[in-house]
Symmetry: C2
Subunit: 97 residues, 2 copies
């Protein structure tokens, strides 16, 4: 665990889904469960939300059968870009083993 | 209510989000709540999932403050296309007033 912490200062059990290929996030989630995490959050914003759902579903159905979806939360994030407020939807999928 | 039933044989309180502009689904949800529904489901598959989250969030935050998210369910739909199994992720967002 200690050497993993050095790689990143983000929480280990949070996977942020973005523009990388789907399977790299699937692998990241599997790795967290393999390292002993009991709960992994799959988070995304905007257009990546669909991909986050794919990641959670693929982990659960194709790779780790004992993983289930504990909770799905959606929300809106407010940002200010050049003095103008913009809004982006977010998702937080809690997977539990 | 009776004349509305004739327009469609789908459940009235289920809005399927697809390729139309975002605001047409927002309007459809608002219309259902305006017609007296206490609960509206916003459903989508695949790439439209992000848009479904946007629809729910816009209704809740911008239009009807007393609407809240009761539940978000994600799942996988199995289909057979030309003898080959394909999988698509789905979302079902329950909005309640």
């Amino acid at each position: 665990m200690a050497e993993k912490k050095e790689e990143s200062n983000q929480a280990e059990n949070v996977i942020y889904v973005g523009k990388k290929p789907l399977m790299s996030y699937v692998l990241a989630v599997i790795t967290q469960f393999g390292a002993g995490q009991k709960e992994v959050h799959v988070k995304a914003r905007g257009r990546a939300i669909s991909k986050a759902v794919d990641v959670a579903e693929i982990v659960r159905r194709r790779f780790i059968n004992e993983v289930s979806i504990k909770e799905v939360k959606i929300d809106t994030e407010e940002r200010e870009v050049e003095g103008k407020k913009t809004y982006v939807s977010t998702i937080d999928i809690t997977l539990t083993k």
